[in-house]
Amino acid sequence: MNLERYELKAGIELEAFEFVSIGSKGKIKKLVQFQETNYKGVYNLGFGDKNIETGEIDDTVISNNGDSEKVLATVVATLYAFLDKHPNALVYATGSTKSRTRLYQIGISKYLDEVEKDFEIEGEINNKWHIFEKGKNYDAFLVRLK
């Protein structure tokens, strides 16, 4: 993916990342966190906006900052960095809403040929995992290094 992306900052463990979206609504601080679930080696990918005034993180807000492709490319970049540090991890991702999950799906589909070179991507439909295919609606995704 030779898309433009934002500069990333991360902690030493590469489990928490921060970047700043710059667009029509100004600067918005974004946080990405890979947090281990109850299943060893399976991490949830969380992503949201940080409210500068309150410090609260909101993963439901719709930023509309006009840079969604660059933001998505940056989140994918965190996956590369995280999985480089944790090569045997599985990363679970789903949207905070159905429409956001659909956005993730559209993003994966758009760059599938490229990301498939590095990642195995499974999608969950009706309580079953399937190899990710374009044009199918999934409820959640699992990503791992090939």
Partner: protein, 56 residues
């Protein structure tokens, strides 16, 4: 054991900021993690064969 190596061309440059390690023991997205735990409990993890192909 197969060694997994990432395509370094795609690996981003990351500036290390130790203040972000503050979040390592804090769940920033607890609802999402709980949702993931519930879903994985109900569905389980995908099964892979020896070649890493999905079998279920």
């Amino acid at each position: 054991m197969k060694t997994k190596k990432i395509n370094t061309r795609k690996k981003p440059i990351v500036i290390i900021d130790k203040s972000l390690d503050f979040y390592n023991n804090i769940s920033l997205f607890p609802e999402k993690v709980e949702k993931a735990n519930q879903m994985l409990k109900n569905v389980g993890l995908p099964m892979f064969d020896e070649k890493g192909k999905l079998v279920s």
